[in-house]
Symmetry: C2
Subunit: 144 residues, 2 copies
Amino acid sequence: MDIVENLELAARYREILRQALYVVRSIDADGELSTAQTSTLNMLAAAPMRIGLIARNAGIRVPSATEQVTKLAAAGLVERVPSHTDARVVEVRLTEEGRRTLKAANLRRNREMARAFDSLSPRERQAINLAIPAIEKLNVALSP
Amino acid sequence: MDIVENLELAARYREILRQALYVVRSIDADGELSTAQTSTLNMLAAAPMRIGLIARNAGIRVPSATEQVTKLAAAGLVERVPSHTDARVVEVRLTEEGRRTLKAANLRRNREMARAFDSLSPRERQAINLAIPAIEKLNVALSP
DNA sequence: GCCTAATAGTTAGGGTGCCTAACAGTCAAG
DNA sequence: CTTGACTGTTAGGCACCCTAACTATTAGGC
């Protein structure tokens, strides 16, 4: 790939990323849950999980995961359950309220997103769909 | 598009956005310029621009643009030039040093990005390339 | 010409979400 | 039983965005 082309691609890529993230955040801001909180809850909906694994899955550091969990716990959406096999470990588990709240938040958000996705052509939706795994791979390649 | 499918697409989309932005930021953090600063400088490289237009182009509010410009001006990379036709207006213009710094930063960043893009297949690169306009459109559709 | 309304930008204060460094507690291995 | 590795928390800090409230200037109606 041409260097100049690459530079332009990279610049545009960075630009739309920034915009996209903040647009998504502004949608999330209307609701009960922030973007990162939803992301964490969605992870925990599959299975209870310890802090370190939350961090690893989210691609963030352990203290950042602690922070998110602390917020969620304060809101009563998750609970910390000490592991009985290893006293260092904390299992984080959705509460019933957490599950309800997440469900509602996902629905609400989905309505907004669906409205936006509907304004795209099938080709465009497909383009985003196809790009997602590539961006995931790029994220890994760019990670330290 | 199916609701469930859409929900999953939206969730994954949100997830990779967050990761991608912070990965890019961590690359930028090694250099002289932050992500937002580079983005602003790149915009100004084309032409001098007033604060309001910077904000509009970047999809941010005017005070946020002021903040970025203030940082850049403090670093000597841009200068505020009062308009002589309208005393309320401030034109922001790259300094020579700003131009040099931006060029160097773009080169350095490009090396990093190119390395990452090289680890993708041509198909994957193409997928990202094609998705960019679609994401741009989605950003607009999601904006308030 | 003057007052009012609109407009450009700044300042102040706040919030999210990430980071590193330093720490406490627990476990495992010699 | 001590040393070293590991899990999570705390403290402090930074990038980047926001809204609300302000100042200065311009423009339009009377």
